[in-house]
């Protein structure tokens, strides 16, 4: 009997492959428009993230797609230029794509008004305006993952844990890129410093962050107990050198999520020991989904890029982002069936409950009013070889964070 079944299945498969009419009966493929900056400012992360997207799509397709619908990830470069991002969006959305991700703040900002008007889903995890987590205002925008405000608040919660709940004589230094990305958490840190009584000292770093000598000698004089850092890529390496020069221990450094293994190896795996980062995904390779991709794709030579690039926490970030997008599609099909439309996909996103992609990331619950999924992060420490979690997944000071979100989103005119 099983052999007959297998023959039947093979025959079915053959007809499916051969005849176009049989193919037309399949549900329409689910497509995601990935308009990324693969050539300019965001190249520190986009190759890993898009490789993760393609790998995950292949894995999903190997397992039969989303209830029969194949998934397709269309990757295009926009060179971080807003007008080219708009071009990519307009072109793909006219071809029927209704889920987009840009991984670039300027492009995300430029697409947002169009997506809101055209009723297309704009995913913007970790980029774009943070107040878009307010689903009551930004109906079609889903920044699933922590906002920078939430991330900074969670960093403070971690510091509070270290000091047994009393921050009254703690000094926290905030080293940040002196432009909107780095300035964003200042407001919330100031609010929290008033609330918890810690002393906040600001250290702006001029772009591109290659010269931080004056900043860190100031840090040495002020002697903050902890340093929260809102910088990217090579600036972390410069910071670590200056810290060493000034005799500041690495343990004090808590980075924003944008710090990866490339930066670690530039700092030196040994020298980076003790360094911490806030994150919404699990670092390292000890993750079921990662292992599955390795055995199913890379061990068979079917990966979408060099395997070295997968040993990078930004690859995990990419896996997390696209696991959420595919999970939403699954939810959409189970709620409303095929074909997936923008409306059903939206419903699918808002049906995601306590989803952690099998231990890959902080569990998220997206609702109609909270498009951020809860904003949980945790602190991980580099122990010389891998990332060691320091806290549970936390989302602290939600009242303060949402106050800032509401204050900002209320100024947006959705019409």
């Amino acid at each position: 009997m099983p052999s007959i079944g297998r023959t039947l299945a093979l025959a079915l498969l053959a007809t499916g492959l051969l005849s176009a009419s049989a193919k037309a009966a399949d549900p329409e493929p689910f497509r995601i428009g990935v308009c990324y900056d693969l050539s300019k400012a965001y190249t520190f992360a986009t190759p890993q993230v898009s490789q993760a997207a393609l790998d995950l799509a292949d894995l999903v397709n190997m397992k039969g797609g989303i209830n029969g619908a194949q998934v397709e990830v269309i990757v295009r470069d926009h060179g971080n230029e807003p007008q080219r991002g708009i071009e990519c969006y307009s072109k793909l959305s006219r071809e029927g794509v209704f889920v987009f991700d840009t991984l670039s703040t300027p492009v995300s900002l430029a697409i947002l008004p169009r997506a809101m008007k055209d009723q297309r889903i704009l995913m913007q995890s970790l980029v774009g305006r943070g107040d878009a987590v307010d689903g009551t205002v930004f109906n079609w925008v889903y920044p699933v993952g922590p906002t920078y405000w939430g991330q900074a608040a969670n960093d403070i919660a971690y510091i509070k844990q270290l000091h047994d709940g009393d921050l009254s004589d703690v000094k926290v230094g905030f080293v940040y890129f002196d432009y909107p990305f780095g300035q964003e958490p200042i407001e919330i840190l100031k609010t929290l410093s008033g609330k918890e009584g810690f002393e906040l000292i600001l250290y702006p770093v001029p772009l591109p962050g290659s010269d931080q000598a004056s900043v860190w000698s100031k840090v040495r004089r002020d002697k903050p107990d902890h340093i929260i850092s809102w910088m990217l890529g090579g600036a972390h390496v410069v910071a670590s050198k200056e810290m060493k020069r000034n005799g500041i221990p690495m343990e004090k450094y808590i980075s924003v999520n944008w710090l990866n293994e490339v930066d670690i190896s530039n700092i030196g795996a040994e020298a980076a020991k003790g360094l911490k980062r806030g994150t919404n995904v699990v670092g390292g390779q000890d993750i079921p989904l990662y292992k599955e991709i390795m055995t199913e794709l890379y061990d068979k030579g079917k990966g979408n890029g060099p395997v070295e690039k997968t040993r990078d926490v930004f690859y995990n970030t990419g896996l997390a982002m696209y696991s959420i997008m595919f999970e939403a599609a699954r939810q959409a099909v189970s709620l409303h069936g095929h074909p997936i439309t923008a409306e059903t996909y939206k419903a699918g996103l808002e049906a995601i409950k306590n989803f952690d992609a099998n231990g890959l990331m902080a569990p998220i619950t997206v609702t109609a009013s909270d498009h951020g999924g809860g904003g949980r992060t945790r602190i991980e420490m580099w122990d010389g070889a891998t990332w060691v979690p320091q806290t549970d997944w936390i989302a602290a000071y939600q009242d303060v964070v949402w106050e800032v979100v509401k204050e900002s989103s209320s100024k947006f005119d959705g019409k």
Binding site: Q83, I86, E87, E184, F412
Partner: protein, 357 residues
């Protein structure tokens, strides 16, 4: 054959200073005008909205830079900053409740004021020194935008523009927005076309060629430089405001960064300094070709069944685009406008090449 030069004699000054001395040129311009007007009915909304509209607005902006760089000969590396002044002041004015007509005017005037204010300081120096001073202006503006949430619109620095409206009529359709861009670009083009037959235009050219020779002729070079900066800044300001109102729908600092300044300058240089039709070509090349080549390479690789990884797919178009600019400037250093001029000169006397001067 194409230009039918026979019987064209200019026997008085009025006739000799006509905008189009050869009817064929005028007819071509009218044809292009008709094409521009009919575009919404000829091309799909994707091309109208994502290619034509930004192309026209950027052309208007680049024409303004061509005025100060191509006509008056003053290198300007902070043009995007001037556009930002116009864009932000217009959006703030519109948010305050002023009608967009006035908001655009305010954008233009404030850009003209700030642009010529910098020019005052800058015009004590010349050439490369001037270029660096204007670059400094760009950095000052970047700093202001990233450090004043009141101007840039909150902590993530994006300032939403109210819905565009003219004469109390809200304009939201693709076609309507296209016509706004088209109308502005047309206005600037007509102004620039006429500039070269006015005293102002001739004075600017005199200043460009040699400013103290111009002074000997009685042309106050300092005054005309300021006029050039103010006029071009006005055009920049209104163009920046229209760009935000019809294309981006919100203003963000990255839309007016130093990279954009360089891009606009590249548009003018590749198009041809002092050439109007060249500016149109230059903008098309710098603004649109990267995206178009990107699409072509992606589709070509798909059609050929090439398994390129996403990064190569992103970098090949950049290489092609760079090579294209170099090739064009090697073939014709005076830019695409001159290339067009060469073709026109050839066709003008074709097939009687022996009459060529």
């Amino acid at each position: 054959m194409f230009y039918r030069l026979s019987g064209i004699h200019h026997t008085n000054y009025v006739s000799d200073t006509r905008l189009y001395k050869i009817p064929a040129d005028r007819n071509l311009a009218l044809f292009l005008l008709a094409l521009g007007l009919a575009a919404p009915f000829l091309v799909g909304s994707l091309y109208l909205n994502s290619y034509m509209l930004p192309w026209l607005v950027w052309t208007a902006a680049a024409l303004g830079l061509n005025l100060v760089t191509g006509w008056a000969g003053q290198l300007h590396l902070g043009y995007a900053a001037v556009m930002a002044v116009g864009a932000y002041s217009a959006v703030h004015a519109a948010k305050y409740g002023l009608p967009w007509e006035f908001a655009l005017l305010i954008g233009g005037i404030s850009a003209a004021v700030i642009g010529s204010l910098f020019a005052f300081a800058a015009l004590r120096v010349k050439g490369l020194y001037l270029a660096l001073t204007t670059l400094a202006m760009q950095f000052v503006m970047d700093w202001v935008l990233t450090h004043s949430p009141a101007i840039s619109g909150g902590s993530h620095a994006s300032l939403q523009a109210p819905t565009f409206a003219l004469l109390g009529q809200r304009i939201t359709s693709d076609t309507g927005l296209y016509y706004v861009a088209f109308g502005w670009c047309l206005l600037v083009t007509i102004f620039m076309l006429n500039l070269r037959r006015t005293g102002l235009g001739r004075a600017l050219v005199a200043v460009r060629e040699k400013d103290y020779a111009a002074a000997i002729l009685g042309v106050n070079s300092f005054y005309y430089k300021i006029v050039a900066f103010a006029t071009s800044s006005f055009i920049a300001g209104v163009s920046g405001a229209i760009l935000v109102a019809t294309f981006f729908f919100l203003a963000a600092p990255e839309q007016f960064s130093v990279a954009v300044s360089i891009q606009v300058l590249a548009m003018v240089i590749v198009g041809g300094l002092g050439s109007i039709i060249g500016t149109y070509f230059g903008v098309a090349l710098i603004l649109l070709v990267p995206g178009v080549v990107n699409g072509l390479v992606a589709e070509g690789a798909g059609a050929l069944g090439l398994q390129l990884n996403v990064e190569s797919l992103a970098h090949i178009p950049n290489a092609v685009y760079g090579a294209l600019i170099i090739i064009i400037l090697m073939i014709e250093p005076l830019g695409l406008g001159k290339l067009y001029g060469n073709i026109r000169d050839y066709l003008r006397v074709w097939p009687f090449d022996q009459f060529k001067k």
